[in-house]
């Protein structure tokens, strides 16, 4: 893997005698390639390599007896730090209910994740209410209702003829009257460049002031993940990210791109289609996975 490639690059360089800054840079080329192949966005890779390079040179990698090992260690540490702390919880609001809204591109896994989060919360002693606020996709409401039914968790719906803001407000009133302490709102998938639909989310945020807005990102997303995450961050107050479909073999570089450009923690990861397939985020594991 990458470790072997860096070792090989370093070996070639050491044959020349003392290492130079340029030598360190060329060994880092292997890291750059690995990150790009892992779908980390171009600019994020560039910034990351610059960061690692400065640290490597600053820490005297050039004088080290094992420069290859040192570089790898620095890369792993820097990447793990960047992936962020493990804080896989949805902090409660000062007053109940704690409102959580899931947003993201079409097909990223919002509806399934919404249901998984409800299950997770109930396992932790909470009393969640699911809210079907996707009024566009055929049978989206039914999809959430089927999942809620499966878990015996209530789903608040007003049908497709109401707008998401009204549905959200109705859901919060219902939660208060029913003693539900978490309200999880599933929204329709949308493009970050769809002004009307992004405006709808902005209205939703201004109206119900949720405690959490979570951007759901497909782990197999490519270079464009940075553009998408940036756009959602600019229009909304994001509080966290959820990475889905990590049960596949994608390296998941989009996680780094999204994290770097939003500054938000990755709260959970989806690792399967079943409702129990939600895990806390492990930054070190993700770093290793991305590096391949």
């Amino acid at each position: 893997g990458l470790t072997a490639k860096i070792q090989a690059a370093m070996k070639k360089l050491r044959g020349k005698g003392k290492l130079s800054e340029a030598d360190v840079k060329s060994a880092l080329r292997e890291v750059r390639l690995a990150l790009l192949e892992a779908d980390v966005s171009y600019k994020v890779v560039r910034d990351f390599i610059t960061q690692v390079q400065e640290r490597a040179i600053g820490q005297g990698v050039m004088q080290s007896l094992t420069p290859g090992q040192q570089v790898i260690k620095i890369v792993h540490e820097e990447l793990t730090n960047l992936m962020g702390g493990a804080a896989s919880k949805l902090e409660p609001a000062p007053q109940p209910p704690t409102v959580v809204v899931l947003v993201g591109l079409q097909g990223s896994g919002k509806t399934t994740t919404c249901a998984k989060l409800a299950r997770h919360l109930r396992q932790n002693g909470r009393s969640p209410l699911l809210v079907a606020a996707d009024v566009y996709r055929p049978a989206a409401i039914k999809q959430l209702q089927v999942l809620g039914q499966e878990m015996q968790i209530p789903v608040f719906a007003m049908g497709e003829k109401h707008n998401p803001v009204d549905i959200a407000q109705g859901a919060i009133e219902h939660a208060l009257s029913q003693g539900k302490d978490y309200v999880l709102i599933d929204t329709a998938g949308r493009l970050h460049v769809d002004e009307g639909l992004m405006e709808e989310l902005i209205r939703l945020e201004n109206n119900i002031k949720p405690q959490h807005i979570l951007l759901v990102v497909d782990a197999m997303a490519g270079q464009d993940a940075i553009t998408v995450a940036k756009a959602f961050r600019e229009k909304l107050t994001l509080s966290g990210l959820i990475l889905t479909k990590l049960d596949g073999d994608t390296r998941g570089g989009a996680a780094l791109s999204a994290r770097a450009v939003t500054g938000c923690p990755i709260k959970f990861v989806g690792v399967g289609e079943k409702l129990d397939a939600l895990e806390p985020f492990h930054p070190e594991r993700m770093a290793s996975r991305i590096l391949g």
């Binding site: 390639l33 790009l36 192949e37 892992a38 779908d39 966005s41 171009y42 591109l105 079409q106 097909g107 990223s108 896994g109 566009y136 996709r137 055929p138 049978a139 989206a140 039914k142 999809q143 959430l144 209702q145 089927v146 999942l147 499966e150 493009l191 970050h192 460049v193 497909d218 197999m220 997303a221 490519g222 270079q223 464009d224 993940a225 553009t227 998408v228 479909k245 049960d247 596949g248 073999d249 994608t250 390296r251 570089g253 989009a254 289609e273």
Partner: protein
């Protein structure tokens, strides 16, 4: 592309950057630009515009797979088996295809063979109702092979022109689920050998390098006849189809450019390449 019309290192670096950021992948991007740099030298081409034009033509050519035929046949019934990983747009693409062929006068039947995901049958059923098309479905949790079997009987008995089969999304790494698809494809070729079978892999333009792995594995398991690249109405370029074309050789037949019934276009290599560099 940079303001300078000269061919300096910056020019080629910029080309590589555009390709990589379009999800063409590092290896293919470097190979494409390396090739074009040598051709520029050999051909004594000095203008950046000319070199870019040459690159675009080469990519468009590599995306034009000669044996690519349109999906529908007029001489025999057509069966479209639509497959792909989770959430890429299979069900929506089926609605678009059904709409297109229905408007062209074909009698189309739908098969709701995603019996697993919550409300998958309801979702396809909604489209069937909107389009006033027949649909074969069982209850959630039923054997998808049984749904397909019934649909094949209906296709024959009702003397229809086309059957489109919706399948559950599945990651290519799930061996048992891929085996299920292979079984479904085998049932179709065994029960209805006289039909023209097209197996379409749906890929999401927002997917990165993993789309190449998806194409490889789906092609290994099934005999794919085409790719549908969806969500090109976003900002992702879908450049991964370039290495896929080189390595897997399956032609892109349609692109999805939105969530409505009309948002399906025939794939055009030149239009795609123009958008790639836009």
């Amino acid at each position: 592309i940079s303001g300078s019309s000269g061919l300096d290192a910056d020019f080629f670096a910029e080309m590589e950057e555009i390709l990589i950021m379009a999800d063409v992948g590092v290896e293919t991007s470097l190979a494409l630009v390396d090739n074009i740099r040598r051709e520029a030298q050999v051909g004594k081409i000095h203008s950046g515009e000319e070199v870019l034009d040459l690159l675009k033509k080469q990519i468009a050519k590599s995306l034009t797979i000669e044996k690519s035929q349109p999906v529908e046949r007029t001489d025999k019934p057509t069966i479209l088996l639509v497959v792909g990983v989770n959430g890429v747009g299979k069900t929506t693409t089926i609605a678009k295809l059904a709409n297109k062929f229905n408007k062209e006068g074909k009698r189309v039947l739908l098969a709701a063979a995603d019996t697993f995901r919550a409300a998958a049958i309801d979702q396809l059923n909604t489209w069937a109702q909107r389009l006033n098309l027949d649909i074969i479905s069982h209850q959630p949790g039923a054997d998808p092979a049984a749904v397909v079997f019934d649909a094949l009987q209906a296709l024959r008995a009702r003397r229809l022109d086309m059957l489109i089969v919706d399948t559950a999304g599945r990651l290519h790494t799930k061996v048992n689920l891929m085996a299920e698809l292979e079984k479904i494809q085998r049932i179709i070729t065994r029960e209805y050998p006289e039909a023209s079978l097209e197996t379409l892999l749906v890929l999401d333009a927002t997917t990165g390098q993993n789309a190449l792995a998806q194409a490889r594995v789906f092609q290994q398991t099934l005999n794919l006849s085409g790719i549908v690249l969806t969500k090109l109405d976003g900002t992702a370029k879908g450049g991964i189809i370039i290495p896929i074309s080189r390595e897997v050789g399956v032609p892109v037949k349609y692109i999805g450019i939105g969530e409505g019934l009309e948002d399906l276009h025939r794939f055009s290599p030149t239009a795609f390449v123009t958008a790639l560099f836009a």
